[in-house]
Amino acid sequence: MQEAMIKRAKELLADGSVDRVIGWKRGEFAYDITPAVFTSAEELEHDFVFDDFTAANVSKYLVKETAKEGKILAFLKPCDTYSFNQLIKEHRIDREKVYVVGIPGGPKLDIEKIKAKGITGVLSVKNEDYTLKIETLYGEETMPFSEAVLDKCASCKSKKHVAYDELIGEDGDVLESNRFDMVEKLENMTAQERFDFWRGQLSKCIRCNACRNVCPACTCENCVFDNPKSGIDNKAAADSFEENMFHIIRAFHVAGRCTDCGECSRVCPQHIPLHLLNRKFIKDINELYGEYQAGADTTSRAPLTDYTKDDCEPSVVHERGVE
């Protein structure tokens, strides 16, 4: 797949269809992969990578990239295309300046899950028939592929590309996913249990802003949390409430816009399951206002900028679940 992508990217650069390519390159470690922009065949040959660790969603980078001169080729996995559409809808990406090549999605791997097995000094990871052959400083290790899959990929919602100019490989379908299982489990807990769960999780937050910075729905020119005029611009731990405020408001701001790409939880250095907040909103919206998938299209009205005259009252919160 990587070779096919590089070949196609080189062709499009060569014939002048695009001026740049956004994909991924390797960092210090094999599993340490970041999005990168390539401008020449040489760079592509040398650095471009597409493997089991290229989980990062590159859609958000297109906000800045399409503000520049020229056209860019973007390789988008199915989940990334939802974010892409949402950004088109919000006028954040100039569609004319992107050439989208749809590529197959995950499941991608989570290095933390490999490390959790006590495997350290990882040099490379190869998938052979759903068994990972892991080359380490201390010799080769193996583990089942399924046990190292990223959480966000384990509850994948769709293998279908909702936006592309061309596809490499086959397009998939929207999946029946189990993505709301954990939200449901929490809903069925008592309020005290839920509170204990979230206190345990949110108390780990170090306000590094990684979740916000990676989130394709958080593309504000200037975040309210950075804007002194907003009145809530405090950074980290001015008082113990700050993180609650940050995460609730952030989830609220992306409610109805979040495509559930799962990047927030993937990048959280403290492993807080932040996506559960977003999924709670998505689940509520689906249940209360009808099924809605942000980014499935570029025209539909977002649930929070819409209403019906017979919407439920907030007392619905009292009527369902346990307290």
């Binding site: 919000e90 006028h91 504000c220 020119e221 200037n222 975040c223 804007n227 009205r301 929070l304 900028t305």
Partner: protein, 663 residues
């Protein structure tokens, strides 16, 4: 550096009785930025305002906080005062320590604490206030009068007289209202129809007045000077423009067993009907509940006899939409339903009637052609008992707590008329009090007692029992003689309490006007603005505001008209400058705000920005039209970046208030 002045009003004892105003002034004097903090007896009075004005000038104030009544009451007063002293009016904030503090609390200590906190919140907010300037908005030079009784007619005539177009919406097929049903009027005993019907005709012939009869207000949008009202013209199955009012259809209609509402159901009318001879518009209406053609498709007689071809069985409800600068509510009253008053046997005995029914029974155009006969056997009644305060001044669930005001006088009128016309009839009136304030009212009542020998008995009727011989046993107490009485009556007349029309409450909701617990419209000020509602551009006329007799109703109708004319005379009114604005540096152009704006006030423009690296970048940003924006603030919450904010109610202002309250 802010220089804020705080002014705490006593409002006589309205505030000072429950809030320690000196302590409030003292405490707020220590708030940051406050340079002067004073209390005064009546801040809204001339001298109170002068106090504020001189402080603004002498202390060079940059902000003013008035701790007083609701901002809905006097915010404008103090804004004007500030402006006249050279301070931008929007640098004034009101802390509501009367309606939302002194009037609801009893304990001085806690009420004072609360007043201080409310004052602190206002000080915190005014720190962040910015000078704002108003725009002008045009006034639509047309008025709407809702209700076509004497109140609505008077208002419409007066507005038309001033040269403005005015529409009357009346839910019945004819205008005229309750006054059209009344026989004679107190205290002059002139005939109601003789003085009302010329006004009805005048209204119909006035070139400035359009009457929408058999119509209802379906929807109201907009604001003072610029309301958009949707009027539902109910299908009357008769083409109003073709019908000549000849009445042939009503004669020929085979369905003649319909209770006649104009005569309070005391006789019948046909399915196609004209409510009464002087109806305006004099146009027939088909009652779809009784018309055989509409119910079963079999008949069509009226259509055959109508030479004008006005009958239209296929007519549908239609809606018209019209813009108005002012709206006058004149929805009137109804007697209460007496179904729950078993003790007066109203539902068991046809000879127990309400006063309004008696009006019809005595009216020359009524069911008996003006001869007073018992409904049961059409015999002449020799003993008539009047019961006062049926449902008025009542503290149980069945009745109303208020005095219906008109009953004492119309009962004196009825008693007098009966004694005049039928001297052989004995008339008893049982009353709690006889209330006769009003020009020539007490003289009138005394005439009934002294000249006409009406038996006024202070006491309540306990039970009314129809007897087998057709007589009615009235059991009552005479409080002055301290004895129980039994009167063998031929008729009993109940002075039923009056209540606002049932359509008033949904209408109040549409108009966003206030009502009291009895569903009477609340005036903007009970003393000083008695014909205005608290919602700008909505005026009150007649009994919809409280029980009234005819002269009072007419006076109020004219007063409401004067207020409406005052508004319509203006070419434009100053708009609210508290509107949304977008910080272009922060705006992402995501379009969330545009989607929630009910006025379409937000558009997008491409704007060029200079970047830190000296390049330029073109970005899509939101732009608010301040003349269209009404300042709801929906956009400010839809905006994730916080670029959209609302003048006068900014994010930081509201959060400053939150902080001040919570700390």
């Amino acid at each position: 550096m802010q220089r804020i002045g705080v002014f705490v009003c006593h409002c006589g004892t309205n505030i000072a009785a429950t809030v320690d105003v000196k302590a409030v002034a003292e405490a707020l004097g220590h708030e940051p930025g406050v340079v002067i903090s004073q209390d005064y007896q009546y801040m809204c009075s001339e001298s109170g305002q002068e106090l504020v004005k001189s402080a603004i000038r002498e202390q060079k104030l940059t902000g003013v906080v008035i701790c007083s009544c609701s901002p809905r009451m006097h915010e404008n007063t103090f804004r004007k005062a500030a402006a006249s002293a050279g301070l931008n009016p929007y640098l004034v904030e009101i802390a509501n320590i009367r309606e939302q503090c002194s009037w609801i609390h009893k304990d001085i200590a806690t009420a004072t604490d609360k007043a201080i906190i409310l004052g602190k919140a206002a000080v915190a907010k005014v720190h962040l206030n910015t000078p704002l300037s108003s725009m002008e908005s045009p006034v639509v030079k047309r008025a709407l009068v809702i209700g076509g009784g004497i109140a609505g007619i008077q208002t419409a005539l007066d507005i038309a007289e001033a040269g403005f177009d005015v529409d009357i919406v009346e839910k019945q097929p004819t205008i005229g209202g309750k006054m059209a049903q009344i026989d004679k009027t107190f205290p002059t005993l002139d005939c109601a129809a003789c003085i009302l019907t010329p006004k009805m005709v005048e209204a119909s012939q006035n070139e400035h007045i359009t009457i929408h009869s058999f119509s209802e207000v379906a929807d109201v949008k907009g604001f003072v000077g610029n309301f958009t009202v949707k009027i539902k013209k109910k299908a009357r199955y008769v083409d109003e423009t073709k019908c000549t009012g000849c009445g042939l259809c009503t004669e020929k209609c085979p369905m003649k067993k319909v209770p006649n509402e104009f005569n309070m159901g005391l006789d019948n009318r046909s399915a196609v009907y004209i409510p009464f001879a002087q109806a305006v518009p004099k146009v027939a209406t088909i009652d779809p509940n009784y018309c055989m053609m509409l119910r079963s498709g079999k008949c069509g007689v009226c259509s055959k006899v109508c030479s004008a071809g006005a009958i239209d069985y296929k007519q549908q409800d239609t809606f018209i939409e019209q813009k108005y600068g002012a709206i006058v509510v004149a929805t009137g009253f109804n007697p209460i339903n007496l179904d729950k008053y078993d003790e007066f046997a109203y539902n068991q005995c046809p000879d127990v009637v309400t006063s309004l029914e008696l009006e019809r029974l005595m009216n020359a155009a009524g069911p008996n052609g003006g001869t007073l006969l018992r409904p049961s056997d059409k015999s002449h009644p020799h003993t008539i008992v009047f019961v006062q305060c049926v449902g008025s001044r009542c503290d149980d669930e069945k009745g109303k707590p208020y005095c219906s005001k008109i009953c004492c006088m119309y009962t004196a009128k009825h008693a007098m008329l009966i004694r005049e016309k039928y001297p052989d009839t004995e008339v008893y009136v049982f009353y709690i009090d006889v209330r006769t304030p009003g020009k020539n009212f007490d003289e009138f009542y005394r005439r009934a007692v002294e000249q006409y020998n009406v038996h006024y008995i202070k006491g309540m009727v306990g039970k009314v029992t129809p007897k087998s011989d057709g007589k009615i046993d009235v059991q009552a107490s005479d409080l002055l003689a301290n004895e129980q009485l039994h009167i063998d009556a031929d008729m009993v007349v109940l002075a039923a309490a009056i209540e606002p029309d049932k359509t008033a409450r949904p209408l109040a909701t549409m108009l966003t006007t206030q009502m009291d617990t009895n569903d009477f419209f609340t005036e903007a000020h009970p003393k000083l603005r008695p014909v205005e509602s608290a919602t700008a551009g909505i005026f009150l006329s007649g009994a919809c505001q409280g029980p009234k007799d005819i002269p009072e109703t007419v006076a109020q109708g004219s007063a409401a008209a004067a207020k409406a004319i005052g508004l319509l005379c203006k070419n434009s009114i100053t708009c609210n400058p508290c509107v949304a604005h977008s910080d272009e540096l922060m705006c992402n152009g995501c379009s969330s705000c545009e989607k929630v704006c009910p006025y379409g006030a937000i558009t997008y423009i491409d704007k060029e920005f200079r970047m830190p690296d000296r390049t330029t970048k073109v970005r899509r940003v939101a732009s608010v039209n301040p003349a269209v924006c009404q300042g709801c603030g929906a956009c400010t919450v839809a905006c994730p970046s916080g670029a959209m904010d609302l003048s006068g109610f900014s994010n930081s202002q509201i959060m400053a208030e939150v902080d001040a309250i919570c700390k």
